[in-house]
């Protein structure tokens, strides 16, 4: 085995840390500042002489400072290196940040302090918010209740149903029943990606609510896979009319409304 002796040019190392374009901070066991690089000083807008040896919580004033959430404290007590989110006040503005803390050890392996670097994640948080907004929009536009015929409404359900979406489906459906004086609704679940007990529960609730409004509910799109899953889940849809295809459901819906579809020309 080769013994590598790393000769570190301490001046260079400090120079590198100083110029790292993100705050790097080190504290002793008493949580007093022993190092803060240029980017860090610039963030808090103070000079090294002003902050040297001060408790880091007084300097950084982040949400974790002085609480049990402080990762610096945790790694010094023997915790794992950790990266967590936090919020910091920078020039009077609250900025979302992420910091990674690790213990500082001497040559014998005794923990003498801690080091952390802080990254501004404003842009990432903004992107996440945008994504959340988009998800919400998709959710909202994915529950259309459509008037199919006089007194007939259809609600095609596609994708994955969660409780929030089920709630939207329910209100969209009930409002449409009210607005159109519908007597029959078709809930087409052919496009539902999976049927767990929560989804089944929501469908049963929707069917029950429509019934209370004097409307018949037909659940369509019970494919072999859906049927098998419902049986395996032990769910009974006894009071609800079901069909495998939308065509059959439509036929039943017309029957319920005393309507028949006849080919053109076959009058009478």
């Amino acid at each position: 085995m080769t013994n590598y002796i790393r000769i570190i040019d301490t001046d260079l190392a400090v120079h590198v840390l100083e110029h790292l374009p993100t705050p790097v901070m080190a504290v002793n066991r008493e949580m007093e500042l022993v190092f803060l690089n240029e980017a860090g000083l610039k963030h808090i807008g103070r000079s090294w002489e002003e902050v040297k040896g001060k408790p880091c919580k007084d300097i950084l004033q982040s949400r974790h400072c002085g609480t049990s959430e402080c990762k610096m404290r945790q790694v010094m007590d023997g915790g794992q290196v950790a990266t967590v989110r936090n919020e910091m006040k920078i020039n009077g503005r609250t900025v979302p940040v992420e910091y990674t803390a690790a213990a500082l050890k001497d040559q014998d392996g005794t923990i003498v302090g801690g080091v952390e670097y802080i990254i501004d994640i404003t842009e990432r948080v903004r992107q996440e918010k945008k994504l959340q907004e988009q998800s919400k929009t998709i959710r909202e536009i994915s529950t259309p209740a459509i008037k199919l015929w006089d007194r007939m409404v259809i609600l095609p359900v596609v994708g994955v149903v969660d409780s929030q979406r089920a709630q939207q489906m329910m209100s969209a459906m009930l409002q449409k029943i009210m607005a159109t004086a519908a007597k029959v609704i078709i809930l087409d679940i052919q496009g539902v990606a999976a049927m767990d007990t929560a989804v089944a529960n929501h469908l049963i609730k929707i069917a029950k609510a429509t019934k209370l409004m004097g409307c018949r509910c037909i659940i369509s799109g019970i494919t072999p896979a859906v049927a098998e899953t419902l049986v395996q889940l032990g769910i009974e849809l006894t009071d609800i009319d079901t069909n495998s295809t939308l065509q059959d459901s439509l036929f039943d819906a017309f029957s319920l409304l005393d309507l028949t579809v006849t080919p053109k020309g076959s009058k009478q």
């Binding site: 998800s135 969660d162 409780s163 767990d196 007990t197 929560a198 529960n201 896979a225 032990g234």
Partner: protein, 136 residues
């Protein structure tokens, strides 16, 4: 295709996260060779686990992957959360028991759908579920 069958991890924090789990799970099962009805059935069981995490623990993880035994390939799902845990596991595994919000069919049906099912839950610490479905 081999690449695709690597273990997938999902962080769950929002009900909408279940979409990703279900869709990816079905694709994974398809690549593994499960038939359409089986894909739907197993994805439903996975959805049950993921819904449970979001509903009771608020957050947690779902991992899906493959396992091999005696030349047979299996689909394995692991659900873990650090939530409140299940106080009475025996009761929760009994048919028609529910702690309130569901139909009370959840966990037993996952057990029924999957070939192997293992659950560990410590009140105040969280729940771990591992289940396997062998490809026949």
């Amino acid at each position: 295709m081999q690449n695709r069958l690597k273990t997938l991890h999902f962080e769950l924090t929002d009900p909408f996260d279940n979409v990703q789990v279900v869709i990816c799970c079905k694709r994974f099962l398809k690549d593994l060779g499960f038939g359409e009805a089986q894909q739907y059935l197993i994805a439903s069981a996975v959805s049950e686990l993921s819904t449970n995490i979001i509903r009771y623990a608020g957050k947690g993880t779902i991992s899906i992957g493959t396992t091999y035994r005696n030349g047979t390939v299996g689909f394995v799902v692991a659900a873990r959360d650090d939530g409140p845990g299940i106080p009475d596991l025996k009761k929760a595994m009994a048919e028609n028991y529910s702690s309130g919000k569901g139909l009370g069919l959840g966990l037993p049906s996952v057990k029924r759908i999957m070939d192997e099912f293992e659950i560990h839950s410590t009140p105040g610490q969280g729940t771990r579920v591992t289940a396997i479905k062998w490809l026949e």
